[in-house]
């Protein structure tokens, strides 16, 4: 089982960032994927390579500012639970952290790499707007 964690500090109010990140249907606006579709507690994401993953939304906690999902019904991926946290840094900014535990473990690396791209895009978006 691979466990990875990526994070970034953003000079922007945590609630403003969470209002965006905590909208599961807007994932493709910051994460490097082609499209997102949400129905109830289900989400489907399609990568630029054409691969589509079905996900169960496990946690969408607006108080904790935590989003968790799990990929399901994809035989190659035996376990993948991802978490996005937006944490107030106490100084008017926030930290956005993406973490996942994953099997097969090697897929955690490209997902972690994509998370870095997504987190940087979030930072660029919110610090430009601020």
């Amino acid at each position: 089982m691979a466990s990875i964690r990526r994070y970034i500090f953003i000079d922007c109010d945590a609630q403003r960032v969470w209002d965006f990140v905590g909208a599961p249907e807007r994932l493709h606006e910051w994460f490097p994927i082609a499209s997102t579709r949400v129905e109830g507690n289900k989400r489907w994401i399609t990568l630029h390579s054409g691969i589509t993953f079905e996900e169960d939304i496990i946690t969408l906690d607006h108080d904790l500012r935590r989003f968790q999902y799990k990929i399901v019904n994809y035989p190659l991926i035996t376990f993948h639970q991802g978490t996005v946290d937006v944490i107030d840094d106490g100084h008017g900014g926030c930290m956005v952290m993406y973490s996942t535990d994953m099997e097969p473990e090697v897929l955690a690396l490209p997902i972690g790499g994509a998370a870095c791209v997504g987190l940087q895009k979030l930072k660029d978006m919110f610090e430009r707007k601020s």
Binding site: A2, R6, P32, I33, L47, H48, S49, I51, L76, P104, E105, V106, L107, L109, P110, G112, G113, A114, C116, V117
Partner: protein, 519 residues
């Protein structure tokens, strides 16, 4: 018109693969002729012993700590220095045909340009900021080992010969680990009989596409073409029609294979501890070696079969190069053609009872074929160079051939014409780095080769502590069986080598860039 540059690389090829370097199995008359006409380097080392870092060094002329591609899976930034950019600026047409691998191959998000170009069926992608072609290449037509994935060769094979796709070895298993499944006659890992027609195999495809690109150029063009063969890297699955060339049953075991398991294991125990850990299957620190394969199970017949298939691949490469050289001559470019031939790193091929590669800084992986055949029109004197040199000198050499100033970003002088020239240029030592952090299994090594000694310092890692290392005297111990790191009689020498190494290694890139894929 200026000099043309044909830069030929193979992947994972040993120094002794070639007849001109004492190899006795593969027939390599084309490369041997280049050696006889040019400069052959007998102590050429890579700056890292896996693909992406080593290839990034070739392109940038920088050590690994500077370009920052510290392991496979760490992409070379799109804006990194590239000698192809500088050559293009002075009018060279530029191409890279075959294996690039400056960016990860496993790329489900299709983030990387190399994979996008193959997927989209295009041969260049302009940089968003500079509007120049990706890494300075007008034409990139890419391949890797086998027929899966998004690169141009895979696409070509799927579209034109779909029946041949399944003949290749399946490189990854169902859990995306490098496949440990055995094949062939001996059950060796990563071996398969491949019924593909020779003409469709990637070696001939690389040569064909190179010839096609060259034929697209006007006669008065100056050009730089990096022709990059994916072989003889594993998997070992050359066309079965070519197996007649080298019968594994007829091969002697290589000199580096230690038959007696007790002797072999005693030698491994005398090295840094991660060697024995891998041999026993308890410490896997390099993704490219199959995680479920235990080297201690390797048999003598498996070593023979892997060697036979490797040398078949070496022969096919030599013949492919011959075709390209004929094509160049037919265009009237022969007298003005510089040819450089090398590889990115070596391969154990049975040495120490091991296959593949990893954090093991010995000749099996570090001593490389490197030949520079200057353009006949310049009248260079053939020579063999004993002075240690690195692939880090390639970028400056290309600049020299093109008659441009050495770019400020490169970290080593051009390759020398002979040993006297090496001294003049300041070639004295060559440095190699290793850093792996694969799911908590950490190995960091720094190595210097100078004065016939190879000295490796281990930095703190999972199985090593500061102050541990390896020291080999190549003149007396060419197979590196005797680790003299703790030998008091050479302590002063060892410490001098280490001081020299730390003085000449570049500053590390901090923070370390993220590893975005296993390969």
């Amino acid at each position: 018109m200026g000099r043309k540059i044909l830069f030929i690389t193979t992947d994972q090829q040993r120094y002794d693969a070639l007849g001109c370097n004492g190899g006795t199995i593969a027939r390599t008359p084309t490369i041997d002729a280049l050696s006889a006409q040019g400069i052959t380097f007998d102590r050429a080392h890579p700056q890292n012993v896996v693909c992406m870092p080593s290839r990034s060094t070739m392109l940038t002329g920088q050590h690994v700590s500077t370009h920052g591609v510290w392991m496979n899976g760490v992409p070379l930034p799109a804006g990194a220095p590239s000698i192809a950019v500088d050559l293009r600026k002075v009018g060279y047409s530029t191409a890279l045909i075959g294996k690039a691998h400056f960016e990860p191959l496993l790329d489900p998000f299709l983030r990387f340009t190399e994979n996008r170009m193959g997927t989209n069926g295009v041969f260049t992608e302009l940089d968003e900021m500079t509007h120049d072609p990706h890494r300075g290449f007008d034409h990139m037509e890419l391949a890797t080992h086998g027929a899966v994935g998004p690169l141009h060769y895979s696409r070509w094979l799927r579209e034109n010969h779909p029946e041949a796709v399944g003949g290749f070895y399946q490189v990854l298993d169902h859990e995306l680990q490098v496949n440990a499944a055995g094949g062939g006659d001996s059950g060796a890992p990563q071996v398969k009989f491949n019924p593909i027609n020779r003409e469709w195999y990637h070696t001939d495809w690389v040569a064909n596409q190179t010839i096609e690109w060259l034929n697209s150029l006007p006669t008065d063009a100056d050009w730089f073409c990096w022709m990059s063969f994916p072989d003889p890297h594993h998997p070992w699955d050359p066309p079965s029609s070519e197996h007649y060339r080298v019968r594994w049953q007829d091969l002697d075991l290589p000199a580096g294979y230690i038959r007696d398991a007790k002797v072999r294991e005693a030698i491994l125990d005398d090295k840094l501890r991660h060697w024995r850990g891998w041999y026993d299957g308890t410490f896997i620190s390099n993704y490219e070696a199959p995680a479920r394969w235990v080297p201690a199970t390797l048999t003598a017949d498996q070593v023979r079969e892997v060697n036979a298939l490797t040398h078949i691949e070496n022969e096919l490469i030599d013949e492919a190069i011959a075709r390209v050289l004929v094509s160049v001559t037919n265009r009237g470019w022969g007298d003005d053609l510089d040819v450089l031939y090398t590889t990115d790193h070596g391969e154990f091929q049975g040495d120490f009872g091991l296959l593949f590669k990893g954090p093991y800084h010995v000749d099996s992986l570090m001593r490389l074929p490197l030949i520079w055949r200057p353009a006949p029109s310049v009248g260079a004197v053939p020579a063999r160079v004993a002075t240690p040199v690195g692939l880090v000198s390639l970028a400056a050499t290309f600049a020299h051939i093109a008659g441009i100033a050495q770019p400020s970003y490169v970290e080593a002088p051009r390759l020398p014409f002979d040993d006297a020239d090496a001294r003049t240029l300041g070639h004295e030592r060559v440095l190699t780095e290793w850093d792996s952090v694969l799911f908590g299994k950490i190995v960091h090594l720094r190595t210097i080769c100078r004065d016939n000694w190879v000295c490796t310092a281990a930095l703190p890692g999972t199985m090593s502590s500061a102050g541990e290392g390896e020291l080999y005297y190549l003149a007396h111990d060419p197979l590196q069986h005797v680790n003299r790191w703790d030998d008091p009689s050479v302590r002063t020498l060892r410490d001098d080598l280490l001081t020299d190494m730390w003085d000449h290694l570049p500053q590390g890139v901090l923070p370390r860039r993220s590893m975005d894929a296993p390969v």
